[in-house]
Symmetry: C3
Subunit: 347 residues, 3 copies
């Protein structure tokens, strides 16, 4: 099968809080792995015990090593067997280790060979480190090719239809669109001037003390980053104060943070969230936004899963590529180019 994933890249494998005392089994880019907290930090190995093939994710962590829950084979964070009751393990095969790094509240997984992992390629996420930002988010498992989610997020005209009652409004469809490719980043920009804010943004304005009944300038700037992450700067400002560039007290703005991690060719993990610069201390606002965003993003699930099913049922169909699709089209071009380069390198 032709691969549809970039291998030599960092993917979000889990939210930090998902891996506690218990190991966590998860499939990423078709690799079945188990994540666990070793003494040296988080670690990942193949979820397959060399003794009898049991899933190591049903085991437990002891002194920073992972112990198989079936017969007690204990491996260290590099996958090397350390002990087993009454056994000499020196000659036991190692469990394949993977490179993982914990940063920004996430566990990042390098889908290629461990030796090639390059931490300098981790993205820089200002909002995750600064006190001026607050973040909330969640995770969905979706039965669809991860690239359908990239398409979805790089074409926000769907908001008018899928999210009509929260963030959609017809002005999105009508606003001119600008797509640019800058190296390995695709950016899509849309500005809507002197409109009324949709319900989600009205609520945000009210929570900051702004008058939600007045016209606003609204913006969306979608940024696709390799291998498969989309960050969307969104916000509204009181009309006529510069929109995206308006002073902080005139606007509410945030970043929709989407990490889209392939599980298989036709399923993915969707880590969604929002980082904001207003009311950053208020946990109730965080909760409300997360609940609202979780509901909005759940509206995409059925659409994407049925779209995937349609594409599987009609594999020969050519789809349209319109200007509104240019974000997804450009993102896929970057992905394809990277995959080809990896394969030329002997992948």
């Amino acid at each position: 099968m032709t691969t549809t994933f970039i291998r030599n890249a960092w993917y979000v494998a889990a939210r930090s809080e998902e891996v506690g005392e218990q190991p966590l089994g998860r499939t990423i880019c078709n690799e079945k792995i188990v994540l666990f907290r070793s003494g040296a930090g988080v670690a990942a190995v193949e979820d397959f015990c060399p003794h009898r093939g049991a899933p190591l994710s049903l085991g437990f962590v002891r002194d920073g090593n992972l112990v198989c829950g079936y017969h007690g084979l204990e491996i260290d964070c590099a996958g090397k067997p350390q002990s087993m009751p009454m056994q000499r393990v020196q000659s036991f095969p190692c469990v394949r280790p993977y490179a993982v790094v914990e940063k920004y509240g996430f566990i990042w997984f390098w889908a290629g060979e461990k030796e090639t992992a390059d931490e300098s390629q981790l993205p820089y996420l200002e909002w995750a480190e600064s006190e001026e930002w607050a973040y909330g988010g969640g995770l969905y498992h979706i039965q669809a090719d991860y690239r359908l989610m990239i398409d979805n997020l790089m074409d926000l005209t769907h908001e008018t239809y899928v999210h009509a009652s929260s963030i959609g409004q017809k002005e999105i469809d009508e606003a001119p669109l600008k797509t640019t490719v800058n190296g390995e980043i695709v950016t899509l920009e849309r500005n809507m001037e002197n409109i009324y804010a949709p319900p989600f943004w009205q609520a945000c304005m009210r929570s900051k003390g702004l008058d939600a009944t007045q016209p606003v300038d609204r913006w969306q700037r979608c940024h696709f980053h390799l291998p498969s992450n989309v960050h969307i700067e969104v916000g509204v400002a009181e009309a006529g104060h510069g929109g995206y560039h308006a002073p902080e007290e005139r606007k509410v703005s945030s970043i929709v943070v989407d990490f889209i991690t392939p599980e298989t060719e036709t399923s993915h993990w969707y880590f969604w969230g929002m980082a904001r610069r207003f009311n950053v201390q208020d946990e109730e606002t965080t909760r409300q936004i997360r609940d609202g965003q979780g509901k909005i993003f759940s509206e995409d699930l059925e659409m994407l899963e049925k779209q995937q099913q349609n594409l599987l049922d009609y594999p020969e169909r050519r789809l349209l590529m319109l200007n509104i699709d240019s974000g997804g089209v450009q993102a896929r071009k970057l992905i394809d180019k990277k995959i080809q380069a990896e394969q030329a390198d002997g992948g």
Copy 2:
């Protein structure tokens, strides 16, 4: 795969009340379609948006056109794109349209090319248009070849076993059977004289004011019509008054109305119902009969689905064809003949 469906024929796709303001997605004869109410009446097109492959059945109807719920492509009842926000749609491909007609409280679907649809081939259903009749019915989805349901309905000896507590009685097995083929109709006739009515018919007699404790003459006349419909005239009359030909006041009679619509080779939609000539104004009688019939027909589901599974597990097995199976055998012959004619025509 050898096809098992006739294409150029009308199938019941839905009960009229299933298609309201929302479009309805349904698979019929392996065609994934969406039904919706256009200004010009009910319409059907392929459930696949040419833009990105989204299911149109997740969209909505606006001014009689169908709007894709993903990015707003709007098509008319012929599948022709009419508009899309900020797009010129003249060159967009059409969505494949299908012929549908609403009549008798059902939506009828022509499984062949739309151009070949022939409304004169719609069946004539007297009971659906006359004030002298009342009708109630329902719909089941069954994981079995639609022809197994035809077999089932064209051999009512199964009533003695599957429906022992309602309409079955051993006299059915023992009554002589007459099968006739008249053009494209197969008829099976069975008369049982001077017997006691089974529980279902006793209830019907009581509801008309007849003495349910006296012997009756009972009849069943199964009529198979192409492509896959079975109508069964059933009833009981006070014994000795002519049975099927008894005067109206001496009998209770009805038509079991079965529209059997293939979904795939191994599943179908079963539209069941009963049209009756007694107590036609009494909605409580309609409700009771529908509840009773729904329960009776649900008893067939497990049998048919497990029979289908057995046939899939043992594809090489030859089955018996007994005289009691003649109705189904003759019906299948008509179906096969029609399919062969279609294929000879270049299908």
Copy 3:
């Protein structure tokens, strides 16, 4: 596909109480059968009516014969058609009969040709016939190759990990192990001296009036019998009185009785239970032990099913065979040898 089952052998098909007035459909060694109570005892035939392929397990028993629930074909315990309403059945094909025997509270199924069934090969189960023993048990359906359950039961070091809170203890891992093969029986023996009893055994000691706080000698003797049964003698005695050989009043002992019946290559029926020699009249003890054992064995289900999934995902992987695996390894050798002999015989 290479077969993984011995054919000419007795497998437990059902607990006696599972087959009452209603027939019971079940798949064993890939054979779909229906079990029913004939006048001559329990009988089994293929679960496929030769008339239309209906499952006979949806039928009923009349005068010791099995009647198809669809159209009334009646067969005797040998699968020979006896009657059908209005039909002459002499020329009807027979339904394939299978050899079954009811004994010890179980129904035993011979997976080979009926003619080759040899009752002398039934195991002798003393505990099932003697008044000095009590028995309780249950049945689990497990989505895993039956041989993975044999491995499981022939290597009780897994108790320390999977059953840590009931019967596991680290001394199991540390006790020396002795494996012997005696003809068609593999025996694994482990003795743990002067240890503290784990919770399950403490409860058993208390129920017999022994002091559960004192040290004990504990033993496990696993016996594998062809085709796939494992009986494990287990118990604890007050320390220093001979362990396994201690006098009856100083010990509590029982036999873990496991009948492991293949359903398909990747699923099996697991009949588990315990026969004991203490408090044999006390039904409350039987209930408590069954509940406890049912809970313990349910802990194995997830492990085995995920292990099976791992083995299917990585079919090329070679597993380790350690000394603790010797019981399973030897058992598989006996199975393979028997299968080869059957195939050489023209299987």
